[in-house]
């Protein structure tokens, strides 16, 4: 038995540590720790409910826009505005969230995960005309190599030609990321931390030229998703095909409805369907009253409130059995994974949309596998690029449904007391905001982020969280930081600033709210 500690895990969002117990090259146990805490929800108490959109976006600068949408949705429910948001406002939120989610997926696959699969040093053998590759080659020729080297040993498997092609895409991805964020900024105001998403709608006034400019900017983004990103993910899945079996995880998926779409003129349908998926392909509806949070192995006192001013502020850093600032959300007491895998599979299973069905099935058949292998490292990357494909095909249509010069926002008029819930599919999965207001100010605010689900520590029943389950049983080559472990962790797209930000008074407080 040997203990391997990897801390920091780089090329993710935030501060994350993994501790793995390895025996004979196999992971026997794993513990995941979020190692940074701010206490955002404590800060929200006492503020104007409308201000939550500004503060909660700062939970995460990689995916702030879903926090914005979840937050204003919760505020709108509390303020009785839920059904009054202008169609323009609904569509603009879809466009901002959709475009930024695509950018986020591209960032994740290339910049964050890419170096686990492609070796930029092979560009030394490149003799073509690609300017980016030649710049990289010149950089290496001059003796530079940081921050790409030094590194631990990695079993790179692509031939030099394919490697250099994908390395070229890695550099191009940086440009596409910027361009996609620019496109979304036409409506969102700035990246990161959109200012235009406000309680009541979106503040950006619409002109025909702004809408058209957005549509034109989509061309290059869609081209990259379809002709670079998707083929590259398929190439990784085929070349690193053992990763279709590695990192299966808990095999329970959870997703929320996301992207309001029109059916018969009402925006009551959703592009991605929420729900639960169990036993590979059994879909059922979700009841969010069944969500609870377990604090057994988290650095919080689990029996008494931790709000300052109401007793002691004691995130208990020396709690004996604890090892993470992340808490353990559970559904019906069971471990669930969230993410594009959950959104895509739930939608595939329940919606029976021939377009989505075909997209999922044709990519699986190109890889030469089936839906059961979606529960894997490669499967998660595939689900993410499929999600980007499904979204990118909708953006232009949504933009064309916008009505220039017509309202984008309704006036906000707030009652003194109330509550609201905002749910959406963030790039990393199911995100929920729970709001309570007394005397016009926030009295309680709860956030359960995707990474809280996925990076959660063990619960009172000893059930490991999804990352931990995905690691237990995998084979590793013994080194300081085995790439096998890192590939599994990165396949979830960790966002630990998101995961660690909360203190709740009671274990099951979330269950006290009713979905209206």
């Amino acid at each position: 038995m040997k203990k391997i500690v990897i801390h920091p895990i780089t090329r993710i969002e935030g501060h994350l540590k993994v501790e793995a117990v390895v025996d004979n090259g196999e992971v026997k146990d794993a513990s995941i720790s979020g190692t940074m805490f701010r206490g955002i929800e404590i800060m929200l108490k006492g503020r104007d409910p409308r201000d939550a959109v500004m503060i909660t976006q700062r939970i995460c600068g990689v995916c702030p826009e879903p926090h914005a949408i979840a937050s204003v949705s919760a505020v709108e429910e509390y303020a009785g505005l839920k059904d009054k948001i202008p169609v323009n406002g609904i569509l603009l939120r879809n466009l901002i969230l959709g475009t930024r989610s695509i950018a986020d997926h591209i960032l994740h696959f290339y910049i964050l995960s890419g170096l686990d699969y492609i070796d930029p040093a092979q560009v030394m053998e490149y003799n073509g005309a690609n300017q980016d590759l030649n710049t990289l080659k010149y950089f290496l020729q001059q003796g530079y190599s940081r921050p790409f080297l030094p590194r631990d040993e990695i079993d790179y498997r692509f031939d030099t030609k394919t490697t250099n092609m994908v390395v070229g895409h890695y550099i191009k991805a940086m440009d596409i990321y910027r361009k996609a964020q620019q496109a979304a900024t036409l409506f969102g105001g700035k990246w990161p931390h959109d200012a235009a998403i406000v309680a009541g709608g979106v503040s950006q006034r619409l002109t025909a030229d702004r809408i058209t400019e957005f549509i034109w900017r989509l061309e290059e983004i869609a081209d990259f998703v379809k002709n670079y990103y998707l083929p590259d993910v398929i190439a990784v899945a085929k070349t690193y095909n053992d990763y279709l079996e590695i990192g299966k995880g808990c095999r329970n998926l959870l997703a929320y409805d996301s992207y309001q779409t029109s059916s018969n003129g009402n925006y009551n349908d959703h592009l991605f369907k929420g729900g639960l998926v169990n036993n590979i392909d059994k879909y059922s509806k979700i009841n969010i009253d069944n969500i609870t949070e377990d604090l057994t192995h988290s650095w919080y006192q689990d029996s008494e409130p931790l709000y300052p001013g109401e007793g002691k502020t004691e995130p208990t850093a020396d709690k004996k059995e604890a090892y993470s600032w992340v808490k353990s959300p559970r559904y019906d007491g069971m471990v669930y994974e969230v993410g594009p895998l959950a959104s895509v599979l739930a939608t595939y299973l329940v919606k029976k949309d021939p377009y989505i069905k075909n997209m999922v099935e044709s990519s699986l058949s190109e890889i030469g596998t089936n839906i059961s292998n979606m529960y894997s490292v490669a499967g998660r990357h595939l689900a993410r690029v499929l999600s980007a494909n499904i979204i990118v095909d909708k953006l232009s249509g949504w933009a064309q449904e916008l009505k220039a010069e017509e309202p984008t926002v309704v006036e906000y008029d707030s009652p003194a007391d109330g509550k609201g819930i905002g749910l959406c599919a963030a790039p990393r999965g199911a995100l929920g905001h729970w709001l309570n207001v007394e005397n016009g100010r926030i009295s309680n605010y709860q956030v359960i982020t995707p990474t809280s689900w996925n990076a959660s520590p063990k619960d009172k029943d000893g059930q490991p969280g999804p990352y931990e389950q995905a690691l237990i049983g995998i084979k590793v080559k013994e080194s300081q930081s085995p790439v096998e472990i890192l590939r599994v962790i990165r396949s979830f797209d960790p966002c630990t600033a998101c995961a660690v930000h909360l203190v709740t008074p009671k274990k099951n407080l979330i269950g006290k709210y009713k979905v209206v």
């Binding site: 990897i6 780089t10 990689v62 921050p147 964020q181 105001g189 950006q204």
Partner: protein
């Protein structure tokens, strides 16, 4: 832009209580693009050599900690810190890494790396002033890099580049200015912000300024007019957003019809009042001006 006889400037980038928004903003720099910054001279003759950057580097774990340890031995490095530094309970609220069983906090890393740096850049409002991480009631005792310098008597030159997030031009433009003019010739304001970017109020160059002067104020979001009554902090906020705009001039906060939240200010987010309510300090010039207009 590559020049063989260049000066290499090692850059160490570490992160405290952050949201990584400073990084995702920086990634969207257009001229120079991030690929230029990583691979080429940032200005002719000067190459930034990113030794350690948690979001880009290949290495993780022990290897990454080794790189960080060795990097502190390099001569003349620039240290960039984003995120605030928690000080309660010995900084346990932000543990950044672990080597041979010893855990390191951002507080320890800052104290170790800052004294020998050529200069330190506090990137983003959390690092520069505490920002969101230190928002009321500041549960973790989050402090700015400047606070840590004061209490620990660190004398290394410090430049604050606030903003939530900071504009990529503010970071790279400042580095370029330092390289081209020399650190001693870069003018900073009282809060150590480069005057090139933070020298004027948003309000001074706001395209809605004419509305303000006419007294035409938006009464609700979506209205035409100056956003002052909807909580715009532009009249008391130093930054060049109204001229520079955001994301390659595709838009900016006031441009999208939303009030400026004053995110480059040391007072952000608590001492400026609610985001969507009129500035609370009646003594600001803008409020005097409004009173005058209202009297007319």
């Amino acid at each position: 832009m590559n020049n063989k006889k260049n000066t290499v400037i090692p850059v160490i980038s570490i992160q405290g209580q952050n949201c990584t928004g400073c990084v995702t903003s920086t990634l969207c720099s257009e001229y120079p693009a991030i690929k230029n910054v990583l691979l080429q001279d940032i200005v002719p003759g000067f190459k930034l050599d990113f030794i350690f950057h948690p979001n880009i580097m290949t290495a993780s774990g022990n290897r990454a900690m080794e790189i960080l340890e060795n990097s502190s031995k390099e001569k003349g490095y620039v240290l960039i810190i984003d995120g605030a530094i928690p000080t309660n309970d010995n900084g346990v609220y932000c543990v950044t890494g672990e080597k041979d069983g010893k855990k390191y906090t951002i507080l320890e890393e800052t104290l170790k790396l800052a004294p020998d740096a050529l200069m330190v850049i506090a990137l983003g409002t959390c690092a520069a002033f505490g920002g969101i991480a230190a928002a009321n009631p500041n549960p973790t005792g989050a402090q700015s890099v400047g606070d840590i310098f004061l209490t620990s008597k660190i004398k290394t030159p410090l430049i604050n580049i606030p903003g939530c997030p900071p504009h990529p031009d503010w970071l790279f433009g400042t580095i370029e200015e330092v390289l081209l003019k020399g650190l001693e010739n870069v003018q900073l304001d009282d809060f150590k912000r480069p005057k090139t970017f933070y020298g004027q109020l948003i309000h001074e160059n706001c395209p809605n300024r004419a509305y303000f002067d006419e007294g035409k104020f938006a009464k609700k979001l979506g209205d035409e007019g100056c956003l002052y009554e909807l909580g715009c902090k532009g009249p008391i906020t130093y930054a060049d957003c109204s001229k520079r705009q955001w994301n390659s001039k595709t838009n900016w906060v006031i441009g999208c019809g939303a009030p400026c939240s004053g995110c480059t200010s040391p007072e952000y987010p608590d001492l400026l009042g609610d985001f969507y309510k009129k500035i609370i300090d009646v003594e600001v010039p803008a409020n005097k001006r409004t009173k005058r207009i209202q009297k007319k």
